[in-house]
């Protein structure tokens, strides 16, 4: 893009403060843009407005008391964050998980992934100026929230997983609702594709915009759909299959160019793959207990440390926990995908237009509270 425009005159450069309150920064992100006309000379993301000290909080409470915090970091895929935290602690304390609980967790996590991607789809098209798909996507997402609300009692911050299982078993109605939702969602794809994917304006706004090359992505630690759009099939569910993901037949969609359009395609295809996983999990749902009753209320894992990485809706997420043998973790650190995905923008935004900046910012799908923690 850069070579298409004339070189900037230095004394015409001015700074535009995009955020922290701006319709398109989704939360409290602030980006300092140095502009020449509408061309971005330099982009500098400023983070930390939503800092709540989650990691420090983790050191001051019981292992299980940290559970609600996890779903408040990435509030759009809270279930996956709960799930990952449970897996990390279970690995640290060697806790057995019943088969049925594993399947339930996978189903709920994938439902959550779809809801997160649907929200991204809606808000991304809204960033590009199309308001209607936003409400269509929210209509579908509402079904997922209802399903998860029924089983966990909460719409966003679930805290549904427990060490050794889940809080409550799922029933026939849950299974029926989920199947009905999958059918409904699949009947909606043609609408979405006619309204957005095939739209000429949409394609022009995203094709060749914000290209993240595989090298650049790896330098900045970009993960998730943004990395896969660059052509690297990196997904923790396949690379190091955790839980029961190795039992399901699903594909990792990858892009070719790494532009915003590829990221869009990858996410849309990922929703379909999540549908396939949920279907297979519902078909093979085993009977049995849904929680390991032997896990004590105040867990004291043996001395040691653990790093457990999993795939959230935005990329590779990891919990690093150090136990000194007491009821409280000695150190609790979280690796979040949005941090790398956001910082790569300093390179990508250079030489683009303000309108492109919005398109690129939306296409990498960052959730600011998970960066700020």
């Amino acid at each position: 893009m850069a070579e298409k425009f004339p070189q900037p005159v230095v004394d015409q450069i001015y700074t535009l403060n995009l955020g922290p309150q701006h319709p398109s920064t989704h939360g409290v992100l602030r980006v300092l843009l140095d502009l020449d006309g509408e061309i971005i000379i330099k982009a500098d993301p400023v983070i930390g407005y939503g800092h709540r000290g989650h990691e420090k909080m983790g050191e001051n409470r019981l292992y299980k008391q940290f559970m609600p915090n996890t779903s408040r970091m990435d509030y759009l895929s809270g279930m996956i964050f709960n799930h990952g935290y449970c897996l990390a602690v279970e690995k640290l304390a060697n806790i057995e998980v019943p088969e049925r609980a594993r399947y339930i967790r996978v189903i709920c996590s994938e439902l959550n992934r779809i809801s997160s991607h649907l929200l991204w789809f809606g808000t991304y098209v809204m960033d590009l100026g199309g308001f209607t798909p936003f409400l269509y996507a929210f209509d579908d997402r509402e079904q997922i929230l209802d399903i998860l609300d029924r089983v966990s009692g909460s719409r966003l911050t679930y805290s549904y997983c427990r060490f050794g299982g889940v809080t409550a078993d799922i029933d026939y109605e849950f299974v029926d609702q989920t199947r009905a939702f999958l059918k409904r969602l699949r009947s909606r794809w043609p609408d979405y594709h006619n309204l957005v994917t095939k739209n000429v304006i949409f394609i022009h706004r995203t094709r060749d915009v914000g290209v993240i090359s595989p090298q650049l992505a790896q330098e900045y630690g970009v993960t998730g759909p943004s990395l896969r759009a660059a052509g690297i099939p990196f997904d923790m569910r396949k690379i190091e299959p955790y839980e029961v993901y190795d039992r399901f037949d699903f594909e990792i969609p990858v892009g070719t160019k790494g532009d915003a359009l590829d990221r869009y395609y990858v996410r849309m295809e990922e929703m379909e793959q999540s549908c396939r996983i949920i279907e297979q999990a519902l078909d093979g749902l085993p009977k049995g207990p849904f929680i390991n009753d032997e896990v004590p209320s105040s867990l004291k894992p043996p001395k040691g440390e653990v790093y457990f990485a999993f795939e959230s809706a935005r990329g590779q997420t990891g919990y690093y926990l150090v136990s000194d043998g007491s009821k409280y973790p000695y150190r609790c650190h979280i690796r979040v995908p949005s941090f790398g995905n956001l910082n790569v923008l300093t390179e990508v935004l250079r030489g683009t237009l303000v309108a492109d900046a919005i398109s690129i910012l939306g296409s990498v799908d960052v959730v600011i509270p998970e960066i700020d923690r």
Binding site: G129, G130, T132, I358
Partner: protein, 326 residues
């Protein structure tokens, strides 16, 4: 002689009062219509609480806006800042003077009616530039700059398409242009011009997908970022009144004005046909807004200079050649 002058003055004053009243009520109605259309497109009912079908919602909103504080930023150019909302509504009213609502329902059937409408609609750019500049806000300035570039780019093809219709009727008088469409509407003779006109008119009124001067997700609110209360309301109402005017002009230039299709008027008076077609066009513009994402600024300019202007020029030349030699 003196009597005639007297009646024409009375006629003008009464006409102006009707125009002001109609344009305000019409703008309020259009805001309601837009919200209703948007609602139904987006699987929700739209306004429905205040009045029957929510018809009074916009009036209530207007009262709320009047009650709000008019904030002038400290760094703003006060005079220009206050003037801009007034400036944007003034030219909009002039357009109503020459619109042919019916065979007898033209306030002033001027022989330069077409030119008058477009000459005054250009004023709105000036108002947007004044407002965006005076606010002394970077978002507002960006919006204003975009708006000027966009309007310059789209006024050229707009006028070129209008010229091809004028060539066919040899008149700039709205009544004569409409009268020439008694049997065949010009959309069937000038389909390309009609399409180009509708695209340009959408861009001219800053409507999505060409709403880049206010691009909500990029520039917060564009040129009217710093406006509050009824000053913002005036910008808002002017946008809808502008929409009505470009659609009314489209109706008279391409869709046969007060005539029914193919000479069948089904016993309805001309003004009913005229308003029916105008509101149908307005509905199309609203429908487009709630369907398409926004075009990027440089793509918009490319589209105008590389596609719209050559196409409208070719169309004009072909029209001229056909009229001359056939």
């Amino acid at each position: 002689m003196g009597n005639e002058v007297g009646t024409s003055w009375i006629r003008l004053i009464i006409g102006l009062l009707i125009v002001i009243g109609f344009s305000q009520i019409n703008a309020l109605f259009l805001v309601w219509l837009e919200r209703k259309v948007a609602g139904h497109i987006q699987l929700r009912p739209g306004p429905k609480e205040v009045g029957p079908f929510g018809l009074l919602q916009t009036i209530v909103d207007g009262i709320k806006l009047i009650g709000k504080e008019l904030i002038t930023p400290l760094a703003a150019d006060r005079k220009l800042f206050v003037l801009a909302p007034v400036l944007i509504f003034m030219p909009v009213l002039v357009g109503f003077l020459v619109l042919p609502f019916g065979p007898q329902l033209i306030l002033r059937d001027m022989n330069i009616g077409v030119i008058l409408v477009f000459a005054f609609s250009t004023f709105s750019v000036l108002a947007i530039l004044a407002g965006g500049w005076a606010a002394n806000n970077k978002y507002a300035l960006l919006g204003a700059v975009r708006s000027v570039a966009q309007n310059v780019a789209y006024e050229i093809p707009l006028l070129l398409t209008v010229m091809s219709v004028v060539l066919m009727t040899n008149s700039l008088r709205f009544s004569e242009i409409v009268a020439a469409q008694g049997k065949v509407w010009f959309i069937f003779l000038q389909p390309v011009a009609c399409l180009l006109y509708l695209i340009c008119a959408t861009a001219e009124t800053n409507r999505a997908p060409f709403d880049i001067p206010e691009a909500e997700s990029e520039l917060v609110a564009g040129f009217h970022t710093e406006y509050s209360g009824m000053r913002f309301g005036l910008f808002f109402l002017a946008e809808y009144t502008n929409m009505f005017i470009v659609c009314a002009v489209a109706t008279s230039l391409f869709f046969g004005g007060w005539y029914g299709p193919f000479g069948f008027d089904l016993g309805l008076p001309g003004v009913v046909w005229f308003l029916l077609k105008t509101y149908l066009l307005l509905f199309v513009i609203m429908w487009v807004r709630w369907t398409f994402p926004r075009i990027r600024f440089d793509q918009l300019m490319n589209f105008s200079w590389k596609v719209m202007i050559p196409l409208s020029l070719v169309n004009l030349i072909i029209t001229a050649a056909v009229l001359k030699f056939v």
